[in-house]
């Protein structure tokens, strides 16, 4: 068995001219990425410098408040800060001081900029430098922007990873070629890939973000990197500035996506085809088997994706290619052409793409198309359900393990569940 050949695929083209929309966006801001980043990086604390709104967003989007003291918080700017009665930098230093003394477990403090901090031009890069003078090297201080005027949802992670890359040490000239896998994934998926990489004979593999802030890999011209998440445009730029080269592939979602992704890595590191087939064979079989459970429920179903995480093109590709779904519209907050091209190569030319959003118009388009399944955010889900439509919350795509062979079935199940449930229920709205 061999990897599917992209060029012989039935479809494939560059992105059809997308609908560009400029109206009300119904997406989270970049702060929201912290909800998974603070779990991923276990010794980091994310300190948002913002308003009560930012704090309220975090607790509303996090939804569950089971962590007594999560590793994020908000330094809320108050009237006296704005009126100049208090020096904001002093105030921030005090908040940091109190926080660090209470949480000795924190090894990396991340200052996260918000709309208010940016509008008043509070310079958090400078603040981080200042705080580093006091706390480094025991505890490092970084900063990035997660503000809603600069970033949507997953772009918060993009900015965080960019800051991390900036901080990565340079690799020595003599160090062997290495692979850097970039983008947050569930730990379980990461562990599975680690096993596959070592079976393929790849020795120098690192993940970004690492689970601990102290495990930051070094980087240089011999670093090849590959993305696991499509929303990392700024990170890509920074990695390339540091001399790393990108391995192009679709995202490792579904059996096909995962195989193409691994194949691209294997090719880069000269792994023989038969070895590749032998190592990936069992995973591919398991994934295919898992997917057949759900294919029936999704085949021929018409799916409309609202913009949310930038994962939409990759998800659409998976649903179309592996589940036989028909894609009505791919909405995405931002279309990163270079990164998404491998996904569009596998999608029909005719697929409608929209970038940005005018939510009221998009809702009208969606109603007119009357799709079988709407993938959308939490603000829109219940109102669509109340109209008798089926929806899937897109936020689950960033909160649950979906990458790799052994999660392919889970990924399909996310979309099959609302349809299956609809079929089972004898109560109507």
């Amino acid at each position: 068995m061999s990897a599917p050949d992209i060029k012989s695929a039935a479809c494939g083209s560059s992105v059809a001219a997308p609908i560009r929309e400029r109206g009300q966006h119904e997406v989270f801001c970049g702060l929201t990425s912290i909800i998974w980043l603070h779990r991923k990086m276990q010794d980091a604390f994310f300190l948002i410098v913002g308003s009560r709104t930012c704090a309220h967003l975090m607790q509303s989007a996090a939804g569950v408040m089971i962590f007594a003291e999560p590793r994020f918080g908000t330094a809320i700017i108050e009237e006296r800060d704005l009126a100049g009665m208090a020096d904001m930098n002093d105030e921030l230093d005090q908040v940091v001081e109190r926080l660090l003394s209470r949480r000795p477990d924190i090894k990396m403090l991340v200052l996260v900029g918000s709309c208010p901090s940016e509008v008043i031009k509070l310079d958090l890069d400078r603040a981080a430098q200042r705080l580093n003078k006091v706390h480094a090297p025991d505890r490092r201080v970084l900063s990035y922007s997660g503000s809603g005027i600069e970033t949507t949802f997953t772009q918060g992670e993009d900015n965080f990873l960019t800051a991390l890359v900036r901080d990565m040490p340079e690799k020595s000239e003599t160090a062997p070629a290495s692979l850097l896998v970039v983008g947050s994934m569930a730990d379980i998926a990461e562990d599975q890939f680690t096993r596959i990489f070592s079976s393929l004979g790849l020795e120098n593999v690192a993940f970004l973000p690492a689970r601990r802030s102290t495990e930051l890999a070094s980087i240089g011209p011999d670093t090849k990197y590959i993305l696991t998440q499509p929303y990392l445009g700024a990170t890509v730029t920074e990695l390339e500035r540091k001399g790393a080269t990108r391995i192009e592939a679709p995202m490792p979602l579904g059996e096909e996506g995962t195989t193409l992704w691994l194949r691209a890595i294997a090719d880069t590191f000269d792994v023989q085809q038969d070895k590749f087939d032998a190592i990936t064979g069992p995973g591919r079989e398991r994934a295919k088997k898992a997917l057949t459970h759900y294919r029936e429920q999704l085949e021929g179903r018409r799916v409309f994706l609202f913009p949310d995480s930038q994962l939409e093109p990759a998800i659409a590709r998976f649903l179309h290619r592996e589940m036989g779904a028909e894609i009505v519209e791919i909405g995405t907050p931002f279309l990163h052409r270079k990164i998404t091209q491998p996904e569009f190569d596998l999608l029909p030319d005719s697929v409608a793409v929209s970038e940005g959003q005018d939510v009221d118009k998009q809702i009208e388009r969606c109603r007119a198309e009357n799709p079988d399944l709407i993938v959308c955010g939490m603000g829109l889900g219940n109102p669509f359900e109340a109209e008798g439509r089926s929806t899937k919350w897109s936020i689950e795509l960033v909160f649950s393990p979906i990458h790799g062979y052994d999660q392919a079935g889970d990924l399909a199940e996310l979309f099959a569940r609302p349809l299956g449930r609809r079929a089972v229920l004898e109560v109507a709205v």
Binding site: S51, R52, I77, E78, I149, G379, P383
Partner: protein, 527 residues
Amino acid sequence: MQLTIWTYEGPPHVGAMRVASSMTDLHYVLHAPQGDTYADLLFTMIERRKTRPPVTYTTFQARDLGADTAEIFKTACREAVERFKPQAVLVGASCTAELIQDDPGGLAKTLDLGIPVIPLELPSYQKKENWGAAETFYQLVRGFAGGRTAEPKAEGARKSCNILGPTSLGFRCRDDIVEVQKLLVELGVDVNVVAPLGASPADLTRLPNADFNILLYPEIADTAARWLEREFKQPCVRTVPIGIGATHKFIREVAALAGVDPEPVIGSEDDRFSWYSRSIDSNYLTGKRVFIYGDATHAVAAARVAEKELGFKVCGLGTYSREFARDVRAAAKEYGVEPLITDDHLEIEDAIIAAQPELVLGTQMERHVAKRLRIPCAVISAPIHVQDFPARYSPQMGFEGANVIFDSWVHPLTMGLEEHLLTMFRDDFEFNDDAKASHLATIGGGGSKSGKAVQNNGAPEKVIEEPANDMVDGSPSWATDAEKELKKIPFFVRGKARRNTEAFAAQNGLALITVETLYDAKAHFAR
């Protein structure tokens, strides 16, 4: 700058959204960046609202700053009015837009929208959600009722009232207004307008027609009620009918204003609470220590019901409603506890641990604390989560509300006889350290019927029974047999026993706590 992790109240524009979402034919155009649209999910997810809240966000971006954010606001406002055709529009700014000073009110006026525009000035860096809701409701009431006069009424016509304060995302508002209206029907009093929940701007113009107002949720409607009192000489019923005593008082106040006889309604058959509380099986409720925290109205009401109607002992009372802190201070004084006026959830957690309550009544935040500490709890106040919007009818006010309160506060407690059994047969394997009352079996380990060793899986990090850790040097130490005896005391009172014994030993200058000391202390502290 204040470090915050969890908050009890959102920013003031979320309060305005709650009022806008409560009403019909009203739209709110909010100058705000895209991330602020998260607030929609409070309504669509937590409250399971079936339509999007009537809010349009301008979602301006960094590249618009200094260029055309004002123009973006105008476009959004114009389009929202065309699309949603409201009777009136609220306009305002979120925290970020407040900083760029575009003046949404002024901009909207230039648009000739053909409908009333109510500009909101909600200072995001000073005020919070409830204040924002109160201010929004006041501006709406003033805007629509201002300058009107009451329609003349026929001599001897039935009296009518307005019900003020219920909103979206409020605690049990949906059912409270049904229950209160039931009482009013029985009294023969007409309801003129209920607002904001379910009212349109046009309904607000009819507010002056009522003979008096009923203020159910002061946090939301006190400002408006005071204005109506001044402007239209409408007296106001301020007793919030939570609990039996308050319900009786409420009925009497309404009856006095309406000139009707309260007695038939006071003797309602619907009141099961009173008998349940008097019945002998409720004896074990006597003196149960209860910690109460919430908005001021619900916290004060809960304290009264707990002490005077269930025979509990209030061991802590607090609120995040600074605007109404005075009421909570007065109540705390009455029950002999220190009032806790704060919205720092860590401080509240510490206060709960220190108070060693047997029941916690609070918001969703205190529920989480109580769960971790393995203390029974019930929710009595916003902020609340999805399961606090029950499918069944469950008011807090009126007679049925009292019945609901009895069930929801008493059920989490260890039942009377069960408590005795736990004490009498404390060496029974089911009653060992990890065993819980049967209905709490899901938390930590449960009693194992098969007699196998009980595994305490998922034990919380902080357990209330371990305050021994923070004992300072020089405090009395425990003899092994005394420590063993202590372990035989059921977990839910063990912390208190340990504390009392240590205090007793310290008072009496004892360095070592023996079994005798334990029982001497028990006698000393016997209530």
